[in-house]
């Protein structure tokens, strides 16, 4: 498998919720229409967000899933404030992002020549995020096996933190990628997963939004704008609604 290849999603769906009605079998039954259990339309029909369903890995290999899990549970550790980044779905988020248009940089200018520039000239690496993860994770694994004779995921938490700090500061070099840039990418994507709308696979049950007091995808604060310096405690709302909205699964 080439480093940039991606498993084809076996099904694409807008949301994993079973509450979404598919308009199957609704034709040829005369003018009457029975609506039961869910509304007779598909959300985002005209302009859908690109999301992939749960239950399968689209890009990451089992070994990579384990490594990214071991990273994201240290970047965002479980503590009194929240569950870990791993438990919040950051690995699923990263996997689906890499499988989509973000992973292949298909929207970005990727023409050469690639040459290093000044710090002000920004990212000039020729690799797309899929390649950066594949090579970066393999290089990290090689580093850990060489230095500790263990896989990264098998290191105790303190030692993982130490390795991550070394990547962050460039204290260690990786074989195929720039260590600092690789760390920055994984950190960025982990935070995206933790704080993005749950429809993308992370931020499980809006855990980060509840933690911060961010009400999410609400669209009207006209009743609240004049309530100065008051804690509002508004329960957050995802693009997909709230789990309480579902009477049964």
């Amino acid at each position: 498998m080439r480093s940039s290849e991606v498993a084809q999603p076996n099904r694409r769906q807008f949301l994993s919720s079973t509450a979404i009605a598919l308009l199957l079998g609704s034709t040829g039954r005369g003018l009457g229409e029975t609506i039961a259990g869910s509304p007779p339309w598909k959300p985002f029909d005209a302009s859908p967000p690109q999301t992939l369903g749960s239950g399968t890995w689209y890009f990451l290999t089992p070994d990579e899933v384990r490594t990214v899990g071991a990273i994201t549970e240290r970047l965002i550790p479980a503590d009194e404030l929240s569950i870990s980044g791993k438990d919040a779905g950051c690995v699923e988020f990263i996997d689906r992002q890499l499988a989509g248009s973000y992973g292949s940089s298909e929207r970005l200018y990727m023409k050469g020549p690639f040459q290093p520039g000044t710090p002000e000239q920004g990212d000039q690496f020729p690799l797309d995020p899929r390649q950066r993860y594949r090579l970066g994770l393999a290089s990290l694994q090689a580093h850990c096996r060489e230095t500790y004779q263990k896989a990264f995921a098998d290191l105790p938490p303190e030692q993982r933190d130490q390795v991550l700090t070394q990547l962050q500061t460039g204290a260690i070099t990786l074989k195929d990628v720039d260590a600092k840039a690789f760390f920055a990418l994984v950190l960025q994507n982990t935070m995206e997963g933790f704080f993005a709308d749950p429809i993308y696979g992370g931020n499980k049950e809006m855990v980060s939004w509840r933690m911060l007091g961010f009400p999410g995808a609400r669209y009207d604060y006209r009743d609240y704008i004049d309530k100065h310096n008051q804690k509002l405690d508004l329960p957050p709302l995802s693009i997909a609604g709230r789990s309480e909205w579902r009477v049964k699964d």
């Binding site: 929240s82 911060l212 961010f214």
Partner: protein
């Protein structure tokens, strides 16, 4: 070889604010207009549906409404001696795409420039003496003045439904408005927006210090409004998904909410979307535009002949199209000759962050142009004698929303991950605010636009190359103005405040402002300007190039109100003067 199409009266290149305004005015005149847009058609109900619009990952992080760099980008360097490299993803600025252009994802802050700006060089020379202007600057007058601009600002106000309070109505200074604005002939069409806590606290502190706070003029309107074309808009709900997003409420004025619903229904108008104009075609003399050549999504090229060509494709593409079409002479920084690419400028972004223990700002209640500001330290509103710089900034608190991938303020020294990162993030999320100072950017000899010698777009055409760095003038100004902001912050008594004046080199990475201006500037002298005061090319009289590309330098204000006014100004000149007597409207 391009396939030639039947001729039309007018071709418009780009259906953002400027192109839509001009197309609408010229179709009212009875002309047949074909408008080209390199991006897709965008529609509020379909594309900015309330169910899917508030999506930070999609719109702010992955930048779905913006031009994709795979289609077109720029190269950048700080000085003429460096090798420019491509911006592979947008950082410093966010060019738009599709109908509505950057006017869909803009913030909506809509100042008018001040009367002094239109004759800046003359004004500063008269007031401080020619010797006081730093030698590095290439400031210019606009070739127009306030009396010529004001009616077109008013036309834009009434199209967009702007919310605010006049500070100078027909020469009368009014309490609660901006006393530094030029005299306006009409009050704002809609009243000022209600204000959340942060701007209110700031305005009180500023007032106590003797400054003159006012509601930031906003194109996210405060109440239902039916505009000058008969299109109705709804009130802003402060949803906090505004800058970088399309508006689902029909509250944010844009070409798609205020013009295109009418324009689309006219029988003498046609929009050609997903069609990128490659060049303006000229006749053998080079003095007359014959139309444009564009490419469709299949890669096929078409030639659309026209009697009149209007280029309204955002600053970058306006200048690039002129360079690719051979209109005017490319600017040479060594000899300071040529006007295509001359006087490129930006905006200088400064701020002070405030961290409190005892306050809750509910920062998710926001909108791109919601807030309070002062103009006491903007442009030449304060005495610059002996300061060693000119210019200044609009100081304001405008909470745009607080979607947390991007908004997680923490004090310097906070770790970027781990438990301590999380504690600090939670502690400061609701209780922090920031005072911004969006400041002027004054032009220099070596800040300019040209074609890149190496990097090409997907069609093999050279990318536009930006050569830009902050002038010493602007860096001094930033320090001075940020100190003033820090003084206001101190009076608000936060636990901690952190000043961020602009320092060092222009960096393409962090977002600063999409207010890129100049490169095809207007003026009275064809040696130093590319278009006259009607936005008509000096070299090709049936070509008008309209947008912020016409600004000779950038004051401490957002550009869109002036872009809108210039579009009305150009359309008026075409309707009133050019059609009666096609040819140069100003003799060189």
């Amino acid at each position: 070889m391009a396939t030639k199409l039947p001729s039309t009266d007018v071709v418009v290149v780009g259906l953002g604010w400027a192109g839509s305004i001009i197309a609408n005015e010229l179709t009212d005149q009875g002309l047949e207009v074909v408008a080209f847009e390199r991006g897709p058609w965008r529609e509020t109900a379909r594309d900015f549906n309330i169910a899917s619009a508030p999506d930070e990952l999609r719109y702010s992080q992955r930048q779905e409404l913006m031009l994709q760099t795979a289609q077109n980008t720029v190269t950048a360097r700080n000085t003429p001696s460096q090798t420019a490299l491509p911006m592979r993803s947008w950082g410093s600025f966010h060019p738009g795409n599709g109908t509505g252009g950057a006017g869909n994802h803009w913030a909506g802050i809509t100042f008018r420039f001040q009367p002094e700006e239109f004759r800046l060089k003359s004004h500063l020379t008269e007031k401080y003496g020619a010797g006081a202007i730093p030698a590095e600057l290439t400031l210019q007058d606009w070739g127009t003045d306030w009396s010529e601009m004001e009616p077109f600002y008013t036309a834009f106000d009434q199209l967009a439904g702007l919310s605010g309070r006049a500070g100078n109505l027909k020469g009368q200074i009014r309490e609660g408005g901006n006393p530094f604005e030029g005299p306006r002939s009409e009050e704002y069409p809609t009243g000022p927006m209600r204000q959340p806590y942060g701007p209110t606290l700031f305005a009180q502190a500023a007032k106590d210090l003797g400054y003159k706070p006012f509601p930031v003029p906003s194109a996210l309107i405060s109440e239902a409004y039916t505009n000058s074309l008969g299109i109705t808009m709804g009130p802003c709900t402060f949803c906090g998904f505004c800058t970088n997003y399309g508006c689902a409420n029909y509250s944010k004025a844009s070409a798609i909410t205020t013009i295109l619903p009418v324009l689309t229904r006219k029988s003498n108008f046609r929009a050609q979307t997903n069609s990128e104009v490659l060049r303006v075609t000229l006749d053998a003399t080079g003095k007359r535009a014959t139309g444009v050549v564009y490419v469709d999504t299949s890669g096929k090229e078409w030639e659309q002949p026209a009697d009149l060509v209007i280029v309204t494709a955002f600053t970058f593409e306006n200048v690039r199209l002129m360079l690719l079409s051979g209109v005017g002479t490319p600017y040479d920084p060594e000899t300071q000759t040529g006007t295509t690419g001359r006087n490129y400028a930006y905006q200088t972004a400064n701020s002070v962050q405030l961290f409190f223990d005892d306050k809750n700002f509910n920062p998710f209640i926001g909108a791109g142009a919601l807030g309070m500001g002062i103009d006491d330290f903007n442009n030449d509103n304060f005495d610059h004698s002996g300061l060693g710089f000119f210019g200044g900034g609009s100081i304001r608190v405008t909470p745009i929303g607080a979607a947390p991938i991007g908004y997680r303020p923490t004090p310097p020294g906070t770790p970027l991950w781990g438990s301590n990162w999380k504690r600090q993030t939670v502690k400061n999320y609701l209780s922090s605010m920031s005072i911004g100072c969006e400041a002027s950017s004054y032009t220099t000899r070596t800040n300019y636009l040209s074609l890149d010698p190496t990097y090409t777009d997907r069609l093999g055409r050279p990318l536009l190359r930006i050569t830009f760095d902050f002038s010493q003038n602007d860096l001094k100004m930033s320090q001075y103005c940020t100190d003033k902001v820090a003084g206001i912050a101190k009076a608000m008594n936060p636990r901690q405040q952190v000043a961020h004046p602009m320092t060092g080199h222009w960096n393409t990475g962090p977002y600063q402002s999409s207010h890129v201006v100049g490169g095809f500037v207007m003026g009275a002298d064809p040696k130093t300007s590319a278009v006259n005061k009607y936005l008509q090319s000096w070299d090709v009289p049936n070509l008008f190039v309209v947008g912020a590309s016409a600004f000779p330098q950038n004051p401490g204000y957002n550009p869109t109100g002036t872009v809108g006014a210039l579009a009305f100004k150009a359309a008026d000149a075409i309707r009133r003067l050019y059609l009666k007597n096609p040819g140069p409207l100003v003799s060189a």
